[in-house]
């Protein structure tokens, strides 16, 4: 039960997490995140890292689509930009890891701003198609240019941090999860600033926002830039995680995956991004598990990929029709129930 959250100062009122209950739960969650790698096996660690990478990228797309209202079908391509940047820098210059990740974010950001330029004149579906075009052009560059290694892609060595090679999921966990948490914190705080509120205003009605004195082009480009920065860093983590980057690593279905994660999780909600990415990443794994339990599992392996497609599609359609606010809303409803529990409200 959580009642009586009184605030006595503006600082307390403006806090990101404002109640004792939240602090306790956050502490528990933090503890679980720290304990997780010591108890989980290799498979679950792998999944944990994958979920974290997807959360980072989904949050980026949520900034653009959920908060600014600009649809993008190019999130995977921006991730690809980041991943290739990391792989190339690692291969040729062997710079420190943090610099590589920042460079990945910066390159993706530049790409995002470039793609965002038409967004002032072009809206809605037209914009989605422009991002689709951008993602095909990026794919083309990855596959056909000399320096990206063509269709074979780039294979890289494990990154070194203080002489320790990041070659197992256990070690990578300590890179990926903190970076993701940092980015989540950044995104959560973003929407308490002028910039984030401007994004929300643009989403709700862009012309009204401009009348209110928000320069549309600048903020739309900023939203594109930030979103692809997140994608780029996530792509960098992806490169460190898999240590091989090929043009096939970032197909269009991956962009749709992120869009689905944003929708299923809840557009315009940080928590939604987390829930959506985790849920969508786990769906195929659960599917595989269920199939493993069925008799004659070996014959059914080839069915997993089409069933996954159908399931993804059904999730997108189902959530849009029955729960447009996504998992985040379900979560809020559950939480509200327990706020006054065991008393009826």
């Amino acid at each position: 039960m959580r009642i009586g959250t009184f605030k006595q100062s503006y600082v307390a009122d403006a806090a990101l997490f404002d109640s004792r209950t939240q602090h306790v739960w956050l502490a528990i969650a933090g503890l679980l995140l720290i304990l997780f790698p010591f108890t989980a096996n290799e498979y679950w660690l792998y999944l944990g890292c994958l979920v974290a990478i997807n959360i980072a990228s989904t949050t980026g797309l949520n900034i653009l689509t959920g908060y600014t209202g600009l649809i993008s079908l190019g999130q995977a391509a921006f991730m690809g930009l980041g991943a290739y940047t990391v792989a190339l820098l690692q291969l040729h210059f062997n710079l420190p890891l943090v610099l590589n990740l920042l460079a990945a974010g910066a390159v993706a950001m530049a790409g995002g701003i470039l793609v965002g330029i038409p967004s002032l004149r072009v809206k809605g579906l037209y914009l989605a198609i422009v991002t689709l075009a951008a993602s095909f052009i990026a794919q083309f560059i990855f596959a056909n240019f000399e320096f990206t290694g063509g269709t074979a892609g780039i294979t890289m060595q494990p990154a070194q941090v203080l002489g320790v090679p990041l070659d197992t999921s256990f070690r990578l966990y300590w890179l990926i999860v903190p970076v993701t948490l940092l980015m989540l914190l950044g995104a959560a705080n973003l929407f308490r600033t002028r910039i984030g509120r401007a994004f929300i205003a643009i989403r709700d009605r862009d012309i009204s926002a401009e009348v209110l004195g928000i320069p549309l082009l600048r903020y739309k480009l900023l939203s594109f830039g930030l979103s692809s920065f997140y994608a780029g860093v996530a792509g960098g983590l992806f490169a460190y995680f898999y240590r091989v980057v090929t043009p096939e690593s970032f197909p269009l279905t991956m962009s749709i995956f992120f869009l689905a994660a944003v929708i299923v999780g809840g557009m315009g909600s940080i928590l939604g991004g987390i829930l959506g990415a985790a849920f969508m990443t786990m769906v195929p794994e659960v599917l595989r598990l269920v199939f493993g339990l069925l008799p004659g599992a070996a014959d059914l392996i080839s069915l997993i990929s089409p069933i996954r497609l159908v399931l993804f599609g059904t999730l997108i359609v189902g959530f849009l029709i029955f729960e447009p606010l996504g998992l985040a809303e379900l979560w809020r409803r559950t939480r509200r129930f327990f706020h006054l529990w065991p008393f009826r409200n």
Binding site: G69, I71, P118, R121, V122, G124, L125, Y126, A128, I129, V130, L132, A133, F136, I137, F140, A143, N144, R205, I207, S208, V211, T253, I256, L259, A260, I263, L303, S305, P306, I307, R308, L309, V310, L311, F312, G313, T314, L315, I316, V317, L320, I321, P324
Partner: protein, 296 residues
């Protein structure tokens, strides 16, 4: 640098324009839905795929004669369109346009998955039904399948345009497209028009899917690629313009043929997308699209 071979260029352009006719037919299916319901159907390629697969099932697996199999496939696809409209699109009337758009993304994923479950992800050949006599236009050779495909497309486009113009349902459709409220007030059953638009669009898509499939074969993913080109066509032409769909269809067909011949097959999509971006920067509503005036 090789000297320019004008005869070859003519031949390539001819093939390009002929396959552009197929884009135009599929684009017409897209525009039909968009004009009437304002829903952007991203799953247009998957409708083509459904039509081609249904035709294959009827003709090759159940060995129906062609004159039964083709109409049966088209009708079955129309039924699919009706089911989809009722179950997925109608619940979203009144929601933001974005929702319906996203639903069609989900729909395309569902259709591809189902196709892989029912048939398989391999490339399939459709039964041949077009004449195989080579077509010569002057000196230039034109593949008979492409030629007859384009001719069929022209016939269906003309039929669709005549239906829009003179048939009662077509008039209702145009009325709904131009002003939904007024159409309601005039006694037009607008939800029924929505269904009609989806059924008609699915049937046109099935026709073009059968033609495209019999030229290049059909797999669960190949039609998706075709569908992306169709999207480029409708965007370049302007989403709500029938004329735009036709002109842009020919234009994109031509550009794709030239790009893949003179630059290499991998440049095909990139070239069309570059054209798309340039046209959108110059004319954000496409070549013939209506400029939307937004008011607060």
């Amino acid at each position: 640098m090789m000297a320019m071979d004008w005869g070859y260029l003519f031949e390539v352009s001819l093939t390009g324009i002929a396959s552009g006719g197929l884009y135009a037919l599929a684009a017409l299916a897209f525009v039909l839905v968009f004009k009437a319901t304002r829903v952007v159907n991203l799953a247009i390629g998957e409708f083509l795929m459904a039509g081609a697969f249904l035709f294959m099932t009827f003709a090759a697996m159940w060995s129906m004669p062609l004159w039964v199999a083709i109409p049966a496939a088209v009708l079955a696809c129309g039924l699919l369109g009706a089911v989809i409209e009722r179950s997925m699109i109608r619940p979203l009337i009144g929601e933001p346009e974005f929702s319906a758009f996203m639903v069609t993304i989900g729909l395309s994923s569902i259709l591809v998955g189902l196709a892989e479950l029912i048939w398989d992800p391999e490339q399939h050949r459709l039964p041949d039904f077009m004449p195989t006599q080579p077509i010569m236009v002057g000196e230039a050779f034109l593949s008979p399948k492409v030629f007859w495909g384009a001719m069929t497309a022209v016939v269906f486009i003309a039929a669709a345009l005549l239906l829009f113009r003179f048939w009662r349902g077509g008039v209702a459709l145009r009325a709904t497209a131009s002003d939904q409220g007024a159409a309601y007030a005039m006694g037009i059953n607008v939800p029924r028009v929505f269904s009609l638009a989806w059924v008609g669009s699915a049937m046109l898509a099935a026709v073009s899917g059968i033609i495209v499939g019999s030229i290049g074969g059909v797999s669960s993913t190949s039609m998706g690629v075709f569908g992306i080109s169709v999207l480029v066509v409708v965007i370049v032409g302007g989403l709500d313009s029938v004329l735009g769909a036709l002109v842009a269809g020919l234009l994109i067909g031509l550009i794709e043929a030239l790009a893949s011949t003179y630059l290499g097959g991998e440049y095909k999509l990139v070239a069309t997308f570059l054209v798309l971006v340039v046209i959108l920067l110059v004319r954000p509503y496409g070549l013939f699209g209506t400029r939307e005036i937004e008011r607060l």
